[in-house]
Amino acid sequence: MLITMSEPLNTIDQQTEAWLRRFSHELDLDAQVQSMAPIEDVRSELQALGADVPGFHAKLAAVLRRAKLTHAAQAVIAWMSPCWQPQWAGQPVGAGDIPTQAHAFALEDGRIELSCTWHPQSEANPAYLDLAWNADTLMDGELWCRFVQPDTQVVLTELLLGESREGGHYLTRQTLGFDPAEETWTIALLVKEPHQA
């Protein structure tokens, strides 16, 4: 609480309270002290201050999705695979029932094997997709993956996997911008010439 000049501090009690409030406010603004706050306290205080806690994140996800697509569109695509839809992708199946799905994408001079598994949101973790690839080909450029909604063909997101011929990534719902356990998706691989900044 700020005390304005229109509220003179006449008594010692008022000065005491003002001093303590100012000190408390300074501690509130200290980033290191604030980082100690449990996230539940952070969110309830945000709400009390008038912030729309979930609304902020929904808007941010939309902004990020647009930015990623713009960013991705700036690179030249050297090769692109057809879309592959893993079995049960986005369908309601118990977490323990989804086996690892695998697919090989053929190129003119080799192949790229892709495998994935996904899990719905749990108490401890957000929904996520675990992706791994192994390229048996000369890969001159960056490997990207593009997620597409199969019915509308809308690009859900496009992510850089890297320049390694082999690797894996753990993609949370936040990174993907969609829930891999609840929304239908297909995946395509792309090789792009490295992005020129």
């Binding site: 501090l9 002290v33 729309d52």
Partner: protein, 177 residues
């Protein structure tokens, strides 16, 4: 397993890689720092609005953050601070509402040099020994920041956070009375 889709220092990845918890912590910092100031200005954006603008500016290359040297959250705080200052200046210039500086100025609480005020402050927290030590140190070192106080008293920052929670609870009960 770590969520490390993109290792490059590009800004899109950096913005995407901050967690929801990181963003909410940053937002609380901005609401605490600028919320009241903006609330006084008619039709002013909220700290969340300005944070969104800051993020869009970074993503759209209208602002830059040297990620190799500066923490992204620090960059965002600085951009929002600059935007708050701009909003405030613009509002002053339009003259839509004239409010004297006095109203916007935070109170200058007198330095607690006089012993009566000092004793009164300490009396308020007498029954909380850790909080008393924190406040006593601060009274003796008016420029001391939280980190310095914690180190001097051999406390962790968690203890400082908890002490402030207890102080806030006390202040709340004062208002309730």
């Amino acid at each position: 397993m770590k969520d490390n889709v993109e290792h490059g220092l590009d800004i899109v990845s950096a913005v995407a890689n901050l967690s929801a918890e990181d963003y909410d912590g940053l937002r609380l910092r901005l609401w605490r720092q600028f919320g009241q100031e903006l609330h006084r200005i008619p039709d002013a954006p909220t700290p969340d609005d300005l944070l969104h603008e800051a993020i869009e500016d970074l993503l759209g290359d209208r602002r830059h953050c040297p990620l190799a040297r500066v923490d992204l959250t620090m960059c965002l705080v600085n951009i929002v601070r600059s935007k708050v200052s701009h909003v405030y200046d613009k509002w002053r210039q339009t003259g839509i509402v004239i409010v004297s500086d006095e109203v916007l100025e935070k109170i200058r609480v007198g330095d607690a040099e006089d012993s009566e005020l000092r004793d009164s402050i300490l009396a308020q927290v007498r029954d909380d020994s850790l909080l008393s030590k924190v406040i006593e140190y601060r009274l003796e070192h008016p420029e001391a920041r939280a980190q310095e106080i914690a180190e001097a008293l051999g406390l962790g920052l968690q203890a400082m956070y908890n002490a402030n929670r207890r102080l806030k609870a006390r202040l709340k009960s004062v208002v309730a009375k």
